[in-house]
């Protein structure tokens, strides 16, 4: 490797390669699952993701773009599915719990702990810390039980990837959409439009509008991640950040203002409607009803926080 590239970048690249290998394993293993209902689509999805993750640094931009589309096609066609469930039996997990006990929390907390340690004590990305934490956690699990072999980890991660499925790519795809919006100059158009309604140059008004817009648009779209890319470019940037507000405070809190919207909308079905079915509840909106007050208080709290810490 080029010695001029910083060690942190190299480590991050190793992490991407590790991610790619895990995704690739999921894709290839799918091909060998006899009972799998959408072998080809699922394998294409995870394998193209694997190629982008591993070789992204060296691939021409155009190729990466094409690979993203190749990855997305089976997902859009509904051809990315979970394989036959190979989860552990209840008897097994109970026996393991008896054997390992509370020690199981040590590897559980390892990823977050290492991320903080890397953030505080090194100049390397905390994400590398997460990767190191994963490796330590895996070693601890292997020490705790001889049944945890390298293949166990790979098969379990495949099972987890099957559960999250293609929607796990949403943040990355939304970031790409944001990049297109920026290149095409969408932010400027929204900013011009919004400036006809609210005064530009008043940071307090800007913050309140930005925070409330995040909550409302998240309620309409059902997804705070989709809202933040659009609303930050259109409102957060020109009406708050351009006036010199602290981007870390404003940008991050805008996301959690969006979460207040998530708590209040049936559009976020995964969180608010699906649990009604899972818990055999009678009222379709009884989860949302229990969240509305919390969401209202949290939105108010965060707007005040933004106004104070801006």
């Amino acid at each position: 490797m080029d010695p001029k590239i910083a060690i942190g970048t190299k480590l991050l690249e190793c992490l991407y390669i590790l991610m790619g290998l895990v995704a690739g394993y999921a894709g290839i293993k799918t091909l060998f699952e006899k009972e799998h209902k959408a072998k080809i689509g699922t394998a294409v999805f995870w394998c193209s993701l694997a190629v982008i993750l591993v070789f992204g640094r060296w691939l021409p931009k155009l190729w990466s773009g094409i690979l993203v589309i190749v990855m997305a096609i089976p997902a859009v066609l509904g051809q990315v599915k979970a394989g036959p469930n190979g989860g552990p039996s209840k008897e097994y997990t109970e026996a393991q719990a008896k054997k390992i006990g509370y020690k199981i929390f040590i590897p559980t907390l390892m990823m977050g702990t290492m991320a903080i340690i890397f953030a505080v004590f090194t100049k390397v990305s905390p994400l590398v810390g997460v990767g190191v934490g994963v490796i330590i956690a895996a070693i601890l699990l292997m020490i705790f039980s001889k049944n945890n072999k390298p293949k166990t980890f790979l098969d379990d991660s495949k099972r987890m990837l099957d559960i999250v499925g293609p929607l796990s790519m949403l943040p990355m795809l939304l970031a790409a959409l944001g990049a297109i919006f920026t290149t095409a100059g969408v932010g400027q158009v929204i900013a011009d439009l919004v400036s006809k309604v609210i005064p530009q140059g008043n940071m307090t008004v800007g913050i309140i509008v930005y925070a409330v817009a995040m909550a409302i648009f998240t309620m309409i779209m059902g997804n705070a991640f989709a809202a933040i890319t659009v609303i930050t470019v259109g409102i957060g940037g020109p009406f708050v950040l351009a006036l010199g507000a602290n981007p870390t405070v404003i940008g991050m809190l805008a996301l959690t203002c969006g979460y207040c919207g998530t708590l209040s909308t049936p559009m976020a079905a995964n969180f608010n409607i699906v649990p009604v079915a899972i818990l055999d509840m009678k009222g379709r909106y009884n989860v949302i009803k229990n969240q509305l007050i919390v969401a209202g208080i949290m939105l108010t709290f965060q707007i005040c926080y933004m106004l104070i810490a801006k």
């Binding site: 991610m19 997902a75 903080i116 997460v130 699990l141 959409l177 100059g185 940008g251 559009m267 649990p275």
Partner: protein
């Protein structure tokens, strides 16, 4: 003005519950085309952004151990930990679950969501607490306890996960701000959320505790 068509596609598409990935791609291509980009340039922009944001796939590495943690009894031990509080009311059980879930969310660990943990573990404990006191749990009370458990599940997960240094929310905020020309670091982004997360836990905890106590009094009080 015509450039806003992509924004409209995203808002309408999500609101109409069309396939999320299809919406994003269509919105991207349409916006690019009306914004004067050609197909190659659009693909290059997508590819460049996707590769630059590979860090958002960090969850893949984390999954290397989450499934195996589950296999080795994580849920069982979490249940045992919550069960340690003595003479708990249903509201306290839900609150204790909230504390544990927020802490684990800050370490990016989920115990399995509503299906994996609330239904099999939290609800039986909450109902058990009611039965220990009143013999039988009232149907209306149980319905509200379910709503509160699911609410606690969501609140602590949303506001807890943003404490994880390198969580997908912060990564998306970071990349969005970068496009506008603002550099931020992940540790500071997480730090901003500490008061928010603590406040969310306190608000939900107190609210659900008193709601349960109120239900307990009004429902069973009249029967005595």
């Amino acid at each position: 003005m015509i450039k806003l068509i992509g924004v409209a596609i995203v808002i309408l598409g999500f609101a109409l519950k069309l396939d999320n990935i299809a919406i994003i791609l269509v919105a991207g291509f349409v916006t690019g085309l009306v914004g004067g980009m050609d197909i190659v340039k659009i693909l290059e922009t997508i590819g460049n952004s996707f590769v630059a944001n590979r860090s958002m796939a960090i969850f893949i590495v984390i999954m290397l151990v989450t499934g195996t943690l589950e296999r080795n009894g994580l849920r069982e031990m979490a249940a045992k930990l919550i069960g340690k509080i003595k003479n708990a009311t249903a509201g306290m059980v839900i609150g204790a679950y909230g504390v544990l879930r927020l802490i684990l969310a800050a370490f990016n660990v989920s115990l399995g969501g509503t299906a994996g943990f609330v239904r099999p573990v939290v609800m039986p404990m909450a109902i058990g607490a009611v039965e220990a006191k009143h013999g039988k749990a009232d149907e209306k009370h149980v319905e509200e306890l379910k709503g509160m458990s699911a609410g606690m599940e969501n609140v602590t997960w949303f506001f807890g996960q943003v404490l994880f240094v390198g969580g997908s929310g912060a990564l998306l905020v970071q990349s969005t701000l970068k496009q506008l020309g603002y550099e931020t670091d992940l540790a500071s982004l997480a730090k901003v959320e500490i008061p928010v997360a603590l406040f969310a836990l306190i608000v939900a905890g107190i609210l659900y505790y008193f709601k349960d106590r109120h239900l307990d009094k009004t429902i069973y009080g009249q029967k005595k």
